[in-house]
Amino acid sequence: MFYREAGDYKKTYAEDTQTFPIKLDRMGYYAILAIALIVIPVMLANDVGGGANYWANAILLPFLIWAIASIGLNVLVGYCGQLSLGSGGFMAVGAYASYKLMTSFPDLNIVFVVILSGIVTALVGIMFGLPSLRIKGFYLAVATLAAQFFLVWMFNKVPWFYNYSASGQISSPTRTIFGFEVTGATATPEARYLFCLALLIALAWVAHNLTRGRIGRSWMAIRDMDIAAEIIGVAPLRTKLSAFGVSSFFVGIAGALFFSVYLGAVEVGEAFGIQKSFLLLFMIIIGGLGSIFGSIIGAAFMVLMPVLLKNIMVGQLGWATDIAAHFEFVIVGALIIIFLILEPHGIAQLWRLLKEKLRLWPFPH
């Protein structure tokens, strides 16, 4: 009744190809943008309700950064069908690239640092994507584990990457945009939040347009049946490597933000271990493979759920933290299985079904 495309006429080509063709979607999107860009930063800046730092650090920043990373992994796994378990390693590449760039070129603006780290990661990703031309499926998944373990080992063992610091840790210096600090210990939560949010919006827009264009369609062709795609003229080399490149670009940017904006100081084995690769994979499974919206929702889900569980079990019931942590494992595992059984296409598919229903509501056939 309210949610419909009837009567929403498109008069120009631009109107027809816009990101949100349905009017109600568009309005909803603007409303969310307004809340995210104006209401939340104002609340953070004025510390409404107290605990602005907690909100930014426990929920908002991880959510934004993981959302970027999961869009990246979804490009590779959901759109191009190449299973990767090496995303933790690629995040580490982004983090260390940003660290080296920040310390070698102190005058370089942080925006360029982040984008350059993404490009460096993309190159590394393309290199590790080369075997995908020969091997497929699980074999490829295991091959990407090589990237994960090798990269983490390398950042641990080669002192040049952490500037020969005694602890082996890297920590991010203070950098500013338009005079506002976004990295370092003294950066305000709203500045860091807005920086990550701006990147997420820009990257999600890029990803959405990539996936519905020629490149995205060739990715999907390769995913659905690679040999058939090859026969109708989709070049597997270019397509697979471009998916690896784009995906790693996103994941690298997320890694750079994770290090410089969110954590501030990083020890590679702890921050970018194999667990992170799985976490990212869970995000896109629960959110929905092959959906940008799903990646963002999946990231929100996987960031919010542990916080919620911890608040209930430790905060309300007063249980020990280790029991809560074990319960988290049990619940995450069970949720993954339940999701795969009930809805293998994730929350994004539930959203699609809901929209279908809303179109006919309240008078279904």
Binding site: A143, L145, A320, F327, E328, F329
Partner: protein
């Protein structure tokens, strides 16, 4: 002969035996993959869970003690009895069979005909679930597992071979590793016998070959899956005992599953002898690499060497050493 020559032999022998330990985990993967096409990521966690259960039963721990105490404010810890090792092993095996039944009932049954990738991800979920569940049930502290196997280096061998060369103090081989090798050989031989000469084994092979055809000649797929997962649970128990006796029962045990993956890639996902040979190649390769190149590039190369070796190998032979040739049709 120079001492380095003998040391190299020692490294190779140790590598072979470590490789066998990897193969024990890889075997479980192969069994399940052959029969149901499921790539069971949870195999490593199954080994951990089996070992935890064994220790728990053996030492008479109260399951979920920590949780019960937290909720009801009680102080249960142990029943106060010791169960003989053999009985405990049989009971743990019973738990693994029950587990296999539940997996089939609650998960596999609902995921029939899904993409292999969906099933793979379901087993990752299963791995997470079991990890949390095992810790809740038996506690997450590091436990000592003692099933009466000899520990430590073999003194007789060391004494007998000492002085074979200038500056050589004899081969240092671990007793437990040698036992593991012997047990692995017996295990593989009996698995081969089982799958080649028994009726159930024949049914397993039929399902592996073509499950549609197997179904049409009256083989119950669901029963076969329970059997296969029970077998994999048994192999996991053996692997869990070996690894647990070697390095204690702890969380890192589940990570050996990741080490078993390159073993599988080398040997091929569908071949039982392949799992053994692949394990040995990986074991020897990583030990030799660490021994010869490791010191120059910072050590701890065992973390990644297996994966890179498997990666390079796959580029030339995508189906592994003994795997079935992958034929694709549009």
């Amino acid at each position: 002969m120079p001492a380095t020559f003998f040391y190299t032999i020692e490294v190779i022998a140790n590598g072979l035996m470590t490789g066998v330990m990897y193969s024990l985990v890889a075997l479980g993967f192969v069994l399940i993959f052959k029969a149901s096409g499921v790539f069971n990521y949870a195999q490593g966690v199954m080994a951990l869970f089996a070992a935890l259960t064994l220790v728990g039963i053996q030492t008479g721990q109260v399951p979920f003690a920590h949780l019960i105490n937290t909720i009801f404010g009680t102080h249960y810890d142990k029943f106060g009895w010791q169960v003989p090792t053999l009985v405990a092993i049989l009971l743990a095996l019973g738990v693994m069979i029950l587990f296999a039944y539940l997996v089939e009932r609650l998960i596999l049954k609902h995921l029939v005909n899904q993409d292999p990738i969906i099933l793979f991800m379901a087993t990752i979920g299963l791995a997470y679930f079991m990890e949390g569940f095992g810790d809740l049930m038996w506690g997450s502290d590091i436990k000592k597992l003692d099933v009466g196997l000899p520990q430590g280096g073999n003194l007789w061998l060391e004494g007998a071979t000492a002085g074979w060369a200038e500056g050589f103090y004899g081969f240092y081989l671990d007793n437990l590793d040698m036992w593991a090798t012997a047990i692995a050989v017996v295990l593989v031989a009996s698995l081969m016998f089982f799958s080649n000469y028994t009726k159930t084994g024949r049914a397993l092979r039929a399902v592996a070959d073509d499950n549609q055809a197997a179904l049409s000649v009256g083989i119950s797929l669901r029963t076969i899956w329970v059997i296969v997962w029970s077998l994999a649970g048994f192999v996991a128990l053996v692997a869990g005992i070996m690894w647990g006796a070697k390095s204690g029962v702890q969380f890192s045990l589940s990570l050996i599953a990741l080490k078993a993956l390159p073993v599988l890639m080398l040997g091929g996902f569908t071949s039982i002898p392949g799992a053994i040979v692949g394990g040995m190649i990986i074991g020897v390769g990583e030990k030799l690499f660490e021994f010869s190149v490791g010191p120059y590039i910072g050590g701890a190369t065992e973390n990644w060497f297996a994966y890179v070796l498997a990666l390079l190998f796959l580029v030339f032979r995508p189906q592994g050493l003994f795997g079935e040739k992958i034929i694709e049709r549009v």
